[in-house]
């Protein structure tokens, strides 16, 4: 039996409505069970698992390097953030130092990922609330970013570009041209979205005072990312627990005091501008040097050296057939993904495959606050509230 709400005796006139899983505004396959009194939601429940593919079990039968490809498919709107989280966790387990150039390219690309993920959020959020044109504009810009991903990794979405020890390969010559072009045109595009929404009376009526959550509740329910900062909590892992040399970049943590859908909208919009600042800084100061760590037993050798050096050939064979052996131990590596705290809890028993790899998915935790946001509101606001917590069901269900 699918999850449902029990009727309360004496309240038989209330309607129990199942919303989803095939509902366009649930951003995937989320099912909600709503108890309605008239048009007001009295109680709400969510039902997930439609996309459950057992990634955490699969990790246990793959080597660390093979596991990276699975991470792309969890949060499919932010594949590079997932790659980064997985690689950082493994590198922490190995105690591996990454060359600066690789770190900076990682920062640059994950910030582009943040922008493109927020663009999808903005587009779908706007179309849910009736603003069709924003959707089309957002996807136009997103496509430019996906072109950059395609240039560096060969894939638009399932990139698997970050590897344990650095990057898969040095980005092709001239790849920064595309980034520069995007960075130049994007501020004006942002103004365009804001002109369409920020002071639009319909948008304000649909978002202001809707889906309110206080800072205390947001923390108690485990909200993270822009959803937490939209309630005025100053918490950004990039600032507070910097990783991948984020401490060298100058950007602001965006917090909004409102705690409603509009506040979270403004927080994400401003976050895109801050991400663009980071992208510009990363381009300006991109260090030269290798993009892979000097660790022959972990990082695959260059193709050329394999043809001339027997050691490289042996290492290649060992890494491909067996994998590398991290020491026995466990690490929890959190990063600030576009949706919040994305963390990999990696346990190693010394074998080339993780003993356990648990993903702390931000969407999974953020979804918990949804019933709190919609109870007592009109059914039309449910759509606004689903959009505002910015969930990706691939990540929720894993």
């Amino acid at each position: 039996m699918p999850v449902t709400l029990e009727r309360i005796p004496g309240k038989e006139e209330r309607v129990i409505l199942s919303m989803g899983p095939q509902h366009p505004s649930t951003h995937g396959v989320l099912r909600l069970v709503l108890e309605l009194e008239g048009e007001t939601v009295v109680r709400a429940l969510y039902d997930i698992g439609y996309l459950h593919t057992g990634f955490e079990k699969s990790f246990e039968s793959k080597t660390y390097s093979q596991g990276i490809t699975l991470t792309d498919r969890m949060d499919y709107l932010a594949p590079l953030s997932n790659n980064l989280g997985f690689c950082l966790a493994t590198e922490k387990l190995l105690d591996l130092e990454i060359p600066p150039r690789a770190q900076w390219i990682r920062v640059l690309l994950t910030e582009l990922t943040r922008i493109q993920s927020h663009l999808v959020w903005l587009g779908t959020h706007a179309i849910d609330l009736g603003a069709m044109s924003v959707f089309l504009y957002c996807f136009r810009e997103r496509e430019e970013i996906l072109h950059i991903f395609e240039a560096v990794s060969g894939q638009r979405m399932m990139t698997s570009y970050f590897r344990v020890g650095g990057l898969a390969l040095e980005p092709p010559l001239g790849w920064l041209k595309g980034v520069k072009k995007f960075a130049k045109s994007f501020p004006a595009r942002m103004d365009e979205y804001e002109a369409l929404l920020t002071r639009n009376p319909i948008w304000l009526r649909r978002t202001q005072g809707v889906g309110c959550i206080s800072a205390e509740d947001a923390i108690a329910y485990g909200l993270s990312g822009p959803s937490l900062r939209g309630s005025g909590v100053d918490w950004d892992i990039r600032k507070k627990q910097p990783y991948s040399s984020y401490e060298k970049f100058d950007f602001k943590t965006v917090t909004r005091p409102e705690g409603d859908v509009y506040g979270r909208y403004l927080a994400r919009i401003e976050e895109m501008r801050q991400s663009l600042r980071i992208v510009n800084q990363a381009m300006a100061g991109l260090p030269e040097g290798p993009v892979k760590a000097d660790a022959p037993h972990i990082v695959l050798p260059e193709r050329e050296s394999m043809k001339t050096s027997i050691e490289a050939l042996i290492y290649h064979f060992k890494i491909v057939t067996e994998g590398f052996h991290p020491p026995v131990g466990e690490v929890y590596q959190a990063i600030e993904s576009p949706r919040g705290e994305l963390a990999f809890y990696m346990v190693s028993d010394g074998s080339p495959k993780p003993f356990r790899c648990h993903v702390r998915a931000p969407s999974f935790a953020n979804l918990q606050a949804l019933p709190k946001l919609i109870e007592g509101r009109l059914i039309a606001d449910v759509v606004a509230c689903i959009g505002t917590i910015d969930i990706v069901l691939g990540e929720v269900d894993r």
Partner: protein, 157 residues
């Protein structure tokens, strides 16, 4: 982050509160793991959440490990975060393999709700006192708990 275990404030304060609460403490890559005695778990959690200077008000994650065939078989793992001090802490509780049960942390951190349901679903550990303990990711009629180490990954079940 504290580089050695003895200077860890959470460990020190917990030991002051109740010498029996912490069974064991470990550190790896600057991450502190405290093994909490099950009988003192909820008290220790409330203390960690409210004590000034610690304030682990954010429960980031709950998951479990299956150490099959070792006994006690399961470890329930809690990842705490203090937004004030930007410190993280890992709590672990050992749970035996036969009829695995533990108590819920929902009264302390409401965020534990879905995470504990996931652990129940995939490991079969029952959390007593949980407000809505039923399968989360798998259908209700599913047999077995896939993240257990004795759950087959191929062939017919």
């Amino acid at each position: 982050m504290a580089a050695d275990l003895e200077s860890n404030l959470a460990l020190k304060k917990l030991r002051d509160l109740n010498p029996e609460a912490v069974e064991d403490a470990r550190i790896f890559r600057d991450e502190v793991t405290l093994y909490i005695h099950p009988a003192h778990f909820l008290r220790a959690c409330e203390f960690l959440r409210d004590e000034p200077g610690l304030k682990f008000s954010f429960l980031a994650d709950v998951t479990a490990l299956d150490l099959y065939p070792q006994e006690p078989r399961f470890e329930v793992v809690y990842h705490l975060l203090s937004l004030e001090t930007a410190q993280r802490l890992r709590l672990k509780v050992r749970v035996r393999g036969e009829d695995p049960r533990f108590i819920t942390a929902v009264p302390v951190w409401p965020a534990a709700n879905a995470f504990e349901r996931e652990v129940f679903d995939l490991f079969g550990i029952v959390f007593d006192g949980h407000p809505f303990l039923r399968r989360l990711l798998l259908p209700d009629e599913w047999e077995g708990h896939p993240l257990r180490k004795d759950y087959p990954t191929e062939g017919y079940r």
